[in-house]
């Protein structure tokens, strides 16, 4: 499993792996938003945390179809399915690899880009913390979606249609925790719920992912 994880990381970081693409996309969205809503500091600082969350979500979505598509094309996925490690763990490894290449860098970059959006100083910690806590769930849910659409040619658009509604609870709790934290309110409940979603996705979705992969490889 660790070997698989390392292989995916190496594939992602080498040329053509699209490692930086998600980050660049994130940056561009953050730059575009002020053009759309106007440069007033008050407005921007109010919506900054929400923008950062939505942009992170879209950036994570961008690289989802790569999770299984390439392995499916060259047959590596069939080999993985017959490999001694259970297919459930393959799903987990893929999700972790996806998180390490998108979620983690996004969480680190988000507070820095927050400067551009006049993010309140009290919110920096919360943005980084909620993204760190929430993006693993995005990766795991996305891995399930990618497994679902792996057999479909040009499934990218369908993938986003399937995955985005599943992202709703994560987004709500993540953005809510930042909002409460930035206002100095108690953010324990949304943070706990966010952690619960992440833990729950990693506990249950690998089974769904493996089941769907088996169906698709039939």
């Amino acid at each position: 499993m660790i070997a698989l994880l390392l292989r995916d990381l190496r594939l992602a970081t080498r040329a053509g792996g699209g490692f930086g693409l998600g980050l660049v996309f994130f940056l561009i969205v953050v730059v575009l938003v002020p053009f759309g809503v106007g440069p007033e500091t008050a407005v921007l600082s109010k919506i900054a945390s929400g923008i950062l969350w939505v942009a992170a979500l879209l950036a994570a979505l961008l690289s989802l179809d790569r999770i299984f598509a390439l392995d499916h094309e060259d047959g590596a996925l069939t080999l993985l399915a017959t490999a001694p490690i259970p297919l459930e763990m393959v799903g987990v490894a893929k999700a972790i690899a996806h998180w390490l290449t998108t979620g983690l860098p996004l969480s680190i970059a988000a507070p820095i880009l927050g400067v551009l959006l006049q993010l309140q100083s009290s919110a920096y910690v919360f943005v980084a913390m909620t993204l760190l806590l929430g993006t693993p769930a995005l990766s795991m849910i996305g891995t399930f979606g990618a497994a679902l659409t792996v057999g479909i040619r040009r499934g990218g658009l369908l993938l986003s249609l399937l995955v985005l509604p599943l992202y709703v609870p994560t987004l709500i709790f993540g953005a809510e925790a930042v909002r409460r934290g930035a206002q100095g309110l108690d953010a324990t409940t949304p943070l706990l719920m966010l952690g619960g979603i992440t833990a729950g996705s990693f506990a249950l979705l690998p089974f769904a992912t493996a089941a769907v992969l088996r169906i698709n490889l039939r």
Partner: protein, 242 residues
């Protein structure tokens, strides 16, 4: 003789053929009397005026929007456990009906909301969760449409329906947490003291029955169509092979 024998496609076709006109007839009867009674023979509400009458469309369609998803979930589970093809086809057949019900509920709610709340749309928990339900229906139907092999499609959509149900439920409560509501609470519960007044309740019950029957009839009809199109497909494949 077990219940499952009715799921045999041939037997399903033979028992639904006589049931179908009755279901449609009863649905029509309930809907026509319920709606006419509701629209013309009930008093106006003392605060909402005549706008209250949209309840006869709004409440039943909202109920059926959720029940259709639950029916799809049950049918998907039956397909995954017992692999009755009719069950998978019934789930497929219910989705467009369910999404229509969701749309009707959203639309009638918006039409009622404009004079009453002063806005067509508010990010209220109930409204928002219905919009999310709408998105789930869209994804489910898009997945059915995207896959050629019927068995694979049935399997994948069943898993999606199960995962989607968990997340839809989660979204429902997340949304509650996220914003305060403008929508009134439940006024049709069986265990509450204050329910909707009897004058409105009786025609409402009739139109709910009408919507349930209409849903049943439409799903039967669509399932029959799906079975026939599956047969045509099988025949065409046999033809092309020989």
């Amino acid at each position: 003789m077990s219940l499952w024998e009715y799921a045999n496609p041939k037997r399903f076709m033979s028992w639904t053929a006589p049931v179908l006109p009755w279901a449609f007839g009863l649905a029509g009867l309930c809907l026509v009397t319920g709606l006419i009674w509701g629209f013309f023979f009930t008093p106006d509400d003392y605060r909402q005026g005549s706008t209250v009458k949209i309840i006869y469309l709004h409440v039943p369609s909202a109920l059926m929007a959720i029940n259709a998803w639950i029916m799809m979930l049950v049918a998907s589970l039956i397909w995954l456990v017992r692999r009755h093809h009719v069950s998978a086809l019934a789930a497929k057949a219910a989705a467009p009906v369910g999404i229509t019900m969701t749309l009707i509920a959203l639309m009638t709610g918006a039409i009622w909301g404009q004079p009453m709340w002063g806005t067509y749309w508010a990010w209220d928990p109930r409204l928002t969760s219905f919009l999310i339900l709408f998105l789930f229906y869209l994804g489910y139907m898009a997945l059915w449409a995207a896959i050629d092999d019927p068995d694979t499609a049935a399997d994948l959509t069943s898993v999606l329906c199960m995962v989607g149900s968990v997340f839809a439920l989660l979204s429902r409560y997340a949304v509650n947490f996220w914003n305060q509501g403008l929508h009134q609470g439940a006024s049709l519960s069986l265990d509450k003291e204050e329910n909707v007044a009897d004058v409105f309740f009786q025609p409402l019950l009739l139109s709910i029955a009408g919507f349930v029957l209409l849903f049943f009839a439409l799903v039967l009809l669509r399932t029959r169509t799906e079975i026939r199109s599956r047969r045509v497909r099988a025949l065409q494949m046999r033809e092309s092979r020989s």
